[in-house]
């Protein structure tokens, strides 16, 4: 390095104590600011998330009078508190006015063409099937990938999609699979959209991954869920 650097005469060099003190003080001010704003915005953010979730679930189950959040972990299901623990699947039990279980809703996610595609699906225990989906988030190509919302034939795939469990209750009897357009034969297959195969497959994969995790944990506890507990909430 050159000794002739202009602008910084030797007398101007700051001691390291001063440098550490400056950074320490600035980070302290910044930390306090962040905590203050975090606490201030927390209730509004939680309320926003709840509204978005309820709107999504209500669109799937219009008759739902109440929505109760649960987490399905490997060792059973429990009422949801905060963010789901690692490995647990969050699901939403919907009840009618008299506290009877209507349907279960949960979210599946898989990588699509541009970004992760997140869909909320509705599961009806009586028919062991999915009866509808709603796209929660996607950034797929407008006019191509967004056909997963607008294409009526594709949406119809999810009216009665078979997700019954195998006799051992550990996995589905048949994996949910997205097949080439026009070659759907079975109730567990999804007919892809021509030109939007990657996005169609992402929807199928997201649902399959989520259902494979959730249903084996949910089925043994289904009786407990059939009536809403403590209707105070």
């Amino acid at each position: 390095m050159s000794e002739h650097r202009t602008g910084i005469p030797p007398a101007d060099i700051t001691g390291s104590g001063r440098l550490v003190a400056t950074l320490g003080l600035v980070t302290m001010i910044c930390g306090a600011l962040i905590v203050a704003v975090w606490q201030w915005t927390l209730p509004a953010i939680a309320a926003n998330k709840k509204v978005v979730l309820e709107r999504g679930v209500k669109a799937l189950v219009p008759d739902a009078a109440r929505i109760v959040e649960y987490d399905a972990a490997a060792d059973g299901i429990r009422p949801a508190q905060g963010d789901p623990a690692a490995g647990a699947v969050r699901f939403y039990a919907t009840y009618d006015g008299e506290g009877r279980l209507l349907a279960i809703a949960a979210e599946g996610a898989a990588r699509g063409y541009a970004d992760v595609v997140r869909v909320l699906y509705g599961y009806r225990p009586a028919c062991e099937c999915i009866f509808g989906i709603r796209v929660v988030q996607m950034k797929e190509t407008p006019g191509i990938g967004d056909k997963i919302i607008t294409d009526a034939a594709f949406v119809a795939n999810f009216d009665g999609l078979d997700v019954s469990l195998a006799p051992d209750m550990k996995s589905l009897s048949n994996e949910v699979k997205t097949v080439k357009h026009g070659s759907k034969k079975f109730g567990w297959e999804i007919d892809a959209i021509t030109g939007a195969t990657i996005t169609s497959k992402a929807v199928g994969r997201g649902i399959n991954d989520s259902v494979q995790m959730l249903l084996p944990r949910l089925r043994p506890n289904l009786e407990e869920l059939k009536r809403e507990k403590g209707s105070g909430k």
Partner: protein
């Protein structure tokens, strides 16, 4: 006399970023969010306001601390301050609208590395008292928002037939989809830069 000179200076500080040194059209800085999030007027406005907020707050705080921060750690300090305000914006946008938060995605966090903000901190706020620093940053913020809106509105009108979500041409309109895809960002930015260059040249030749 001094008052009037100062008045002009402050006004000039504000106008510099809006027009003469517009970050998008003149300095072509911060192109990453400019091209990426301007698929609609609403997104452009959200991003512009978020960036302006970070610009103004960080310029104010840096200007207040300018005599206290040793030059050896100034960049580290500026980045910590800028990152703090970006974190605040992140929380505030989530509290205001989750739809906007999802639409802007990672680009909210990436405001930290927007070169307009560090550029303003280093070139202006660190050398000026709080009032001119804040005014200059505010002008830059407005200029950036105008730039984003100019792109966002054109892309939304051409690519979706809408403006701020309101349908303009009725059901028979066939959207020009490429305009809301990444190439459309370059097309529209190129168009605007062409227009500004042509206008500047015309003004020059009129004067000469």
């Amino acid at each position: 006399m001094t008052a009037s000179t100062k008045q002009i200076t402050n006004m000039e500080q504000l106008l510099e970023g809006i027009w003469k040194q517009n970050p998008v059209f003149v300095m072509t800085l911060g192109m990453c969010p400019t091209l990426a999030v301007t698929v609609s007027g609403f997104n452009a406005l959200g991003m512009g306001v978020a960036t302006a907020f970070v610009l103004v707050c960080s310029a104010g705080l840096i200007s207040l601390l300018r005599n206290f921060i040793p030059k050896e750690v100034r960049i580290a300090t500026y980045i910590v301050i800028i990152a703090t305000f970006v974190t605040l914006v992140d929380y505030i946008i989530q509290a205001v609208s989750l739809a906007l938060y999802d639409a802007l995605g990672a680009f909210i966090q990436l405001i930290v590395v927007n070169c307009i903000i560090l550029g303003r901190a280093e070139a202006h706020a660190a050398k000026n008292p709080p009032l001119p620093a804040v005014l200059n940053a505010f002008g830059m913020g407005i200029g950036f928002t105008i730039g984003l809106l100019a792109l966002g509105c054109v892309r939304e009108i051409l690519g979706a037939g809408k403006l701020f979500g309101v349908s303009l041409f009725g059901a028979s309109f066939q959207p020009w989809v490429v305009m809301v895809l990444p190439p459309g960002g370059f097309f529209v930015l190129g168009g605007w830069l062409l227009l500004f260059a042509w206008w500047a040249k015309r003004k020059e030749s009129n004067h000469g």
